[in-house]
């Protein structure tokens, strides 16, 4: 930052810092240091004063010490050789009689972040781990992690790790949580801190002593633990029960997540936990902090996919108020749509109707889309509202209404007549391309019911030169050809003009190709093109897919209380409402395996060791008697990588495979054991994150590949 007279200031400060009479006066000395820090926080580079500042750190004044530590941590990476001078002072402070000084010095020494510092801090950190003051131990524990961060390539000291595991039994709860955090950071490469049965139970028993941050962290760590049997599981759930209704949102949601994870096999327990957590979640949805409200609403939105009925009675809590920011209102509208039932539909629609005239166009449009989604179930009521909105003659509103019309016509054929009537009496022109596309589609698909359809399309064709969006042009081409099929006499002339323009003058390749395609289709004859373009214009069965189907809790539970939930802003929903997904025919066909990203043998080994087995079972298929290299090449074709295998003729014979499918990583071990008969194959698979369908798909692919291979070799 350019700072006028900064050099002068620096010189003056330098003089002041080395002035013995100022040094003698504690207060004046501190004030000079304070000025330096102030300049530093304003962005001025005061590193030239490092020498003088190091000298100043040999003071008994606590505030001055803190200020100087702050200064050193900021500039040590820039002046490593000078910072070494300060280490002596810091090490002396680490042996001070006041625990506060000890802790402070230790913490800042670990924060220095300069090369070669580790050899100086190792001894004080280790001494700190055994300090009698818990304050120092807390700092020292995290210091271990910082030390590791300073030299990431260095080997992890097993003794330190053991010491930290031992400190999990420390009487101070914060030391315990810090141990977890430090171990997690140090052992990141090995999959983080290991939670075994004694540790898990120790943590659970001490949960009460922790502050809310510690509780939230510990609960997240406990997600890793898998109880051995049912009795243990229910013991754990009993211990956790009280925390479900904690006043801290972070603790309540972390507990709920752990509950859902542990009780994955007991849907009744999950449902019970969800209903118990409803109170705290609803309270958070009304909390004074906007951000908390938003986070809670995002959680509720996800919960509703499985337990919509539970929240239906509380729909009024999700009515928006004017002072709320847009992101909250969007979220609330999403929730309202999910909560609609026969009893509240009138009130919810009335409420949404009021949002449609919001000053912000995006909110108004979102409200209209929400009405459209409700319209898939209560089409008559919604149509009335949507048609009346057209009367407002506001451009963004008209555009959004037309887009909802298009979806409604697709999903609810019974709306078609009313929609066509409304579109026919539409007077204003639309400017944005989304709205244009919707209008043009409607005119093309239902032109036989809209008397003015050819004339409106003609206007668009005439002003085609000024049109910028190629999507609109594509839509216009399709619509015109469709309309030609239903009303040839009125459309023929303008279709000719449109095709001529698109083929001869259009610069966009996509549009040109489409026009050429239609042109050659037209040459084939009207019957052919009717068969191709005259597909269904409505499909009520799609409404079932786009509409409500209860998802199992496990489909979203892994993402509960994570950032992912807050980022998936309603766009997914809107898309689902607008573009119905094609019906999938079984999990197998939709699975696509891939080799990317590649996995190194080391990381394979690490994953293999830390993951739990997802599936073990025999593979019922003949063993292909071929060289492992051939097997490797064959499996690569179906996107499964063979990473390692035993020598050809040895028994038992093993191979390790991996593949990625639908965002999950699948690791597998194929074991051919002579004791079970030479053709018996045992398959052990591990997967992260878990997804049964993908796993089944993987087995199917592997099996078919092996079968094909054995056919070829035999």
């Amino acid at each position: 930052m350019p700072y006028l007279g900064s050099e002068e200031t620096l010189k003056e400060l330098k003089r002041a810092l080395s002035n013995p009479s100022i040094q003698a006066d504690r207060l004046r000395y501190r004030n000079v240091v304070l000025r330096v820090i102030r300049l530093m926080t304003q962005g001025l580079d005061v590193s030239p004063l490092f020498m003088e500042m190091v000298k100043a750190s040999a003071s008994v004044d606590m505030v001055q010490k803190k200020l100087l530590y702050l200064y050193m941590c900021t500039y040590a990476p820039l002046k490593p050789d000078l910072a070494l001078l300060a280490i002596n002072t810091l090490r002396k402070d680490c042996a001070d009689s006041n625990p506060m000084v000890r802790g402070l010095a230790l913490r800042n020494m670990c924060n220095l972040r300069m090369p070669g510092i580790t050899e100086y801090i190792q001894q004080p950190v280790l001494a700190g781990l055994r300090d009698k003051a818990s304050y120092v131990r807390r700092v020292a524990v995290l210091g271990c992690a910082k030390m590791q961060n300073l030299q990431p390539e260095a080997e992890i000291d097993g003794a330190v790790v053991n010491e930290l595991y031992g400190l999990l039994r420390d009487p101070d709860p914060v030391v315990m949580v810090n141990c977890l955090r430090a171990l997690e950071e140090m052992l990141k490469a090995e999959g983080g801190v290991v939670i075994n049965k004694p540790i898990a139970h120790h943590l659970l028993n001490r949960l009460k002593e922790l502050d809310s941050w510690g509780q939230s962290d510990t609960l997240t760590f406990l997600l890793r633990y898998e109880p051995r049997d049912e009795a243990e599981l229910f013991d754990i759930l009993n211990l956790l029960d009280g925390h479900l209704q904690s006043s801290h949102g972070a603790v309540a949601t972390a507990t709920l997540r752990l509950f859902l994870r542990l009780a994955a096999a007991h849907p009744a327990v999950q449902a019970d936990a969800l209903s118990r957590a409803q109170g705290p979640l609803l309270a958070m949805c009304a909390s004074a902090s906007r951000e908390l409200r938003f986070a809670a609403l995002c959680h509720v939105r996800r919960l509703l996919r499985s337990v919509a009925t539970q929240y239906a009675a509380h729909y009024k809590r999700f009515f928006c108020s004017y002072s709320e920011p847009g992101y909250i209102r969007l979220c609330k509208m999403d929730i309202l749509v999910e909560l609609v039932n026969d009893e509240n539909v009138a009130l919810v629609l009335e409420e949404l109707r009021a949002y449609c005239t919001d000053v912000l166009p995006e909110l108004a449009q979102a409200a209209i889309f929400a009405i459209g989604r409700i319209g898939q179930m209560y089409s008559e009521r919604c149509l009335g509202i949507l048609v009346s909105l057209l009367g407002l003659r506001q451009e963004h509103i008209t555009s959004a209404v037309l887009q909802t019309f298009r979806d409604l016509v697709w999903l609810c054929p019974q709306c078609t007549t009313a929609v066509c009537r409304a579109v026919a009496s539409l007077e204003d022109s639309i400017q944005d391309s989304e709205g244009k596309q919707a209008l043009i589609w409607l005119l093309g698909a239902h032109g036989d019911k809209i008397s003015s359809a050819p004339y409106v399309l003609e206007d668009y064709i005439d002003s085609l030169k000024a049109e910028l969006s190629s999507l609109v042009k594509l839509e216009l081409l399709t619509a015109t050809v469709r309309l030609f099929l239903s009303r040839p006499a009125e459309t023929q002339d303008m279709m000719g003009r449109l095709l001529h323009y698109c083929i001869e003058e259009e610069g966009d390749m996509c549009v040109r190709d489409r026009a050429l395609l239609y042109y050659s289709l037209l040459l084939c004859g009207v019957e052919d093109i009717r068969r191709i373009l005259g597909g269904p214009t409505t499909d009520a069965s799609l409404g079932v897919i786009a509409g409500h189907s209860e998802e199992p809790v496990d489909s979203w539970a892994p993402h509960f209380n994570t950032l992912e939930l807050l980022l998936a802003r309603g766009c997914v929903h809107m898309l689902a409402g607008r573009l119905p997904a094609p019906p999938s025919d079984g999990p197998h066909s939709s699975l696509s395996l891939s080799l990317e990203p590649a996995l190194s043998p080391e990381s394979f080994e690490r994953h293999w060791l830390e993951l739990d087995v997802s599936h073990v079972g025999p593979v019922t298929c003949p063993w292909p008697h071929c060289l492992p290299e051939a097997l490797q090449a064959a499996l690569q074709l179906v996107q499964i990588q063979v990473l390692a295998f035993s020598r050809p003729q040895s028994l038992p014979w093993k191979a390790y495979l991996y593949s990625h499918g639908d965002g999950t990583l699948i690791l597998a071990e194929v074991l051919r054991d002579s004791t079970q008969g030479a053709d018996h194959l045992q398959l052990t698979m591990k997967q992260v994150p878990r997804d049964k369908h993908v796993l089944q798909g993987f087995v199917a692919v592997l099996k078919s590949a092996l079968q094909a291979l054995s056919r070829d070799t035999s």
Partner: protein, 425 residues
């Protein structure tokens, strides 16, 4: 967990940064500034912003954005709650949490941030404990410090850290033992043009200021505990006892704390304490409109409605207003079209009213927007939900404490709104 913290003011300048791990360049905030520019209003900046290498989680309080930089997956509620705790602590220390206050006390701010987080993990966040580590600046102490040269930093470690009750320090001693409880309720309601309630709910809190020596064990009982819907407690409250007997039993923290917050949402229980009569009309073809508004109290159990403030966002077509308030003063901002009327106290004998005319843009069509009316108010000595504390008892200590309970009702953050549909075509 929390890598760095940036404090950004509403004009988009970073005025303070703190890094707990390696230094993250300021340029990471560019993504935040982008979002800030896109947002039409300051509060419209989304709380979570993804960037290629980090997540930015921000809270907006007192027109300052507290932007935390996160590098790995974290529970979002954790970070948001923590940031709010930071703001609360600043407010607690400096009285206000403004840019100026933070800049003035920049050293204390850094000290606090250093103690609150280490390596990105929360360390000491309880205000009781922090205050023993770092003494808050007061005018008196500043004067004393300047004379004696002593500092704001506690020389000793906080004593409470190892007590059996983590939220209370041991060896507390007061000459006057007192416990005060404030029952504060905020009412949020939306009312339609005909005066019927669309939604109404009450958010209540009980804030306590407990200055009792030793280890007191308190029980607080209510006359009508079933009123409370969703209750969330301070960790000190024994939850089992509440579930079984509907009694609050707890060993209180020392000093100020929030004992519980609750929610009353059953419609029949929520009575709106004021009513509005209004008549806002625009005539087709005329550039004049009429504006009439009258306020009156309703179901206040004889308590006075105070600090009443009415505000309304008038349609864009309104150029100016010429109104006559029977009491208080009104202002109209011709740019934002915000009309606000500071009424003061409502006198039930002489109801306050605001009448007059609005001048509209000549030639413009009749406005089709629906003006909403927001009302803020306060009522002392009454909890609108009817919640009443029955008795407060103390066990475990011999002395007799002084006890006090105060009630207050006010309009919530989401104030009472009135949807005036009459203006629609």
């Amino acid at each position: 967990m929390i890598h760095s913290l940036f404090l950004v003011n509403s004009s988009g300048d970073i005025f303070l940064e703190k890094h707990w791990k390696s230094v993250v360049s300021r340029s990471v905030c560019d993504y935040f500034f982008e979002a800030q520019e896109r947002a039409s209003e300051p509060e419209n900046v989304p709380p979570v912003i993804p960037t290629p290498h980090h997540y930015l989680i921000s809270v907006l309080r007192h027109r300052i954005y507290f932007v935390a930089v996160i590098q790995s997956e974290v529970p979002p509620l954790f970070v948001i709650e923590f940031l709010h705790r930071v703001v609360d602590t600043f407010q607690d220390y400096f009285g206000v949490c403004t840019e100026a206050a933070i800049k003035d006390n920049v050293v204390v701010v850094y000290e606090l941030l250093e103690e609150m987080l280490d390596n990105g993990f929360p360390l000491a966040t309880e205000s009781n404990i922090l205050k023993e580590l770092i003494k808050p600046p007061t005018i008196l102490r500043t004067v004393v410090n300047t004379i004696t040269g002593s500092t704001n930093v506690g020389e000793q470690l906080p004593t409470g850290q190892l007590s059996v009750v983590p939220w209370r320090r041991t060896g507390v001693k007061y000459t006057n033992n007192e416990a005060y409880f404030d029952v504060v309720e905020e009412i949020d309601a939306i009312i339609d043009k005909s005066g019927s309630t669309i939604t109404a709910e009450i958010q209540g809190v009980i804030d306590a200021c407990v200055k009792l020596s030793g280890m007191p064990d308190l029980t607080l009982s209510f006359m009508n505990p079933r009123l409370l819907d969703d209750v969330s407690f301070h960790p000190c409250v024994r939850f089992k006892r509440w579930e079984a007997e509907r009694i609050l039993s707890f060993i209180p923290p020392d000093g100020n704390f929030r004992l519980l917050s609750y929610h009353v949402s059953s419609q029949n229980l929520v009575a709106i304490p004021v009513y509005v009569k209004h008549n806002i009309t625009f005539r087709e073809g005329s550039s004049q409109g009429r504006f009439e508004l009258t306020l009156g109290p309703k179901q206040t159990m004889g308590k006075a409605v105070e600090s009443v403030l009415v505000s309304s966002q008038l349609p864009r077509g309104v150029l100016n207003v010429n109104l006559n308030p029977s009491q208080g003063t009104y202002t109209f901002d011709p740019v934002t079209k915000l009309l606000s009327w500071d009424v003061g106290k409502i006198n039930p004998q002489k109801l306050p009213s605001l009448k007059g005319s609005m001048s509209l843009q000549a030639g413009a069509s009749k406005p089709d927007e629906n003006p909403t009316i927001n009302i803020q108010f306060k009522i002392q000595q009454m909890a609108i939900s009817g919640l009443k504390v029955n008795r407060l008892d103390m066990y475990g200590e011999k002395y007799k404490p002084f006890k006090g309970i105060k009630y207050m009702t006010k309009a919530g953050k989401v104030p009472e709104g009135r949807r005036d549909e009459a203006a629609l075509p």
